[in-house]
Symmetry: C2
C-alpha cells in the first residue's frame, strides 16, 4: 500500500479528506503560488484523481480561498487569544505577547500563512470578499491594540497610528522571507521587535 493510499485511508477514517486536501493544497500553494499549483499536482499529492477533487470542492478557486482564509484565521485567533490572556498586564507585555503570537502562528502554520500572503492577489480576478473581510478583521485587532498602547503611553502618542500599524505588520510579515527555525527563536525575535518599538 502506497503512502498516498494510506493517507487517504486514514483521512477517510477520520472523515477528514477535506482537511487533507487543504493541507496539501496549502503546502503546494506556499511554494508555487496560484497559477503554478495545478489541480493535478494537488490530487496526485493527496493520492486521488483530479476529478475526485470536485467531489469536495466546486472549483480551484474554492480550494485556494479556503486555504488563504485559514491562513489569516490561524494568525488572527492566536493573537486574539494572546491578548485575552494578558488582559490587565503592562502595555509593553501585551505588545510583546501579540507579536509573539503573530510570529508563532505565522511560523507554526507556515504552509497556510505563507500561501495566504503569496496568493493574496490570485489571478486577474478581484480578491474574493471573504478574503478581504478576514484581512480587515485582523487589521482591526491591531488598530485597537495600537490605540490602547498609545493611550497608555507605551507607544509615542504623536506618531501616526496607521503608519505604526503598517510598520509593525510589515516587519512581522516580512519574516516569512527570512525566518528559519534553527536560526532564531520566535520569542527572541518578538522581544527584539517590541523593544525596538516601545517608547524608551
Amino acid at each position: 500500500m502506497s503512502a498516498a493510499t494510506d493517507n487517504v485511508a486514514r483521512a477517510a477514517a477520520r472523515g477528514g479528506s477535506r482537511r487533507l486536501i487543504l493541507d496539501t493544497a496549502a503546502r503546494l500553494l506556499r511554494s508555487g503560488g496560484y497559477h503554478q499549483t495545478t489541480l493535478r499536482e494537488i490530487a496526485e499529492a493527496v493520492g486521488i484523481r483530479k476529478a475526485s477533487l470536485y467531489h469536495h470542492f466546486a472549483s480551484k478557486e474554492e480550494i485556494v480561498e479556503a486555504v488563504v482564509n485559514d491562513g489569516v484565521r490561524f494568525v488572527h485567533d492566536a493573537v486574539v487569544a494572546a491578548l485575552e490572556k494578558t488582559t490587565g498586564a503592562p502595555p509593553g507585555r501585551r505588545l510583546e505577547a501579540a507579536i509573539t503570537a503573530h510570529l508563532t502562528a505565522l511560523n507554526g502554520q507556515r504552509d497556510y500563512t505563507t500561501a495566504s500572503f503569496r496568493v493574496f492577489t490570485f489571478g486577474a480576478t478581484p480578491v474574493p470578499e471573504s478574503v478581504r473581510a478576514a484581512r480587515r478583521a485582523y487589521e482591526d485587532v491591531w488598530r485597537n491594540l495600537i490605540a490602547e498602547l498609545q493611550a497608555a503611553g507605551a507607544l509615542p502618542k504623536e506618531r501616526s497610528p496607521d503608519l505604526m500599524r503598517y510598520l509593525i505588520l510589515g516587519a512581522m510579515n516580512g519574516s516569512i522571507d527570512w525566518f528559519r527555525p534553527g536560526r532564531f527563536a520566535t520569542a527572541d525575535v518578538a522581544q527584539e521587535f517590541s523593544t525596538l518599538l516601545l517608547a524608551r
Copy 2:
C-alpha cells in the same frame, strides 16, 4: 564582461523596443505575477506579435529576470546615491535619507519594484543567480548602514543588527501593499519610520 552582457548594454544604449518590452512586461508582471503574465499579453500590449519577442529575448525567463533585476537596481542605486549625498551628515539624517530614497524608488518605479517582489520566486525553478546576487548586494548596503548607525549610537548597540535590518526592510517593503500616492507623502512616511526607529 560577458558577450551577453555586452549585447544587453549595446541594446540598452540604442534604446527603443527592448525598453518598451520591459516596461510593458513590468506593468503586467506587477499585477499578474509570473505564471499569469503570458507572452501573448506582453506582445499584444507592446503592439507586436508574440514570436517577435524572441527577436529581442531568448525566453520568457530572460524577460522576467531583466525586469526583476531592474526593480532591485533602481532601489539600490537610489539609496546609494542618497547615502553618498549625505556623507558626514548626522546619523539620524542619513537613516532618514536612505529610507526616503528606498520608499521613493519603490513607489516611483512601481511596476518594476512591485513585479520584483511579487515574482521573486517565479516557478519551481530556482531563483537565478543574477537575481540572488542583486538582492544580496542591496542587503549589504543596509548591513553597512546599520553597523555605522549602531557605532554612532543612533541605533541601540545591544540589539541584533540582522533583526533590525529585517525589521526595517520588511516595514519599508510592506508599503507596496498599502502606499497610495494621494494618501501619504513619501517624505512623511520616511520621517515617521526613522523617528520610530532611532534611539530616543
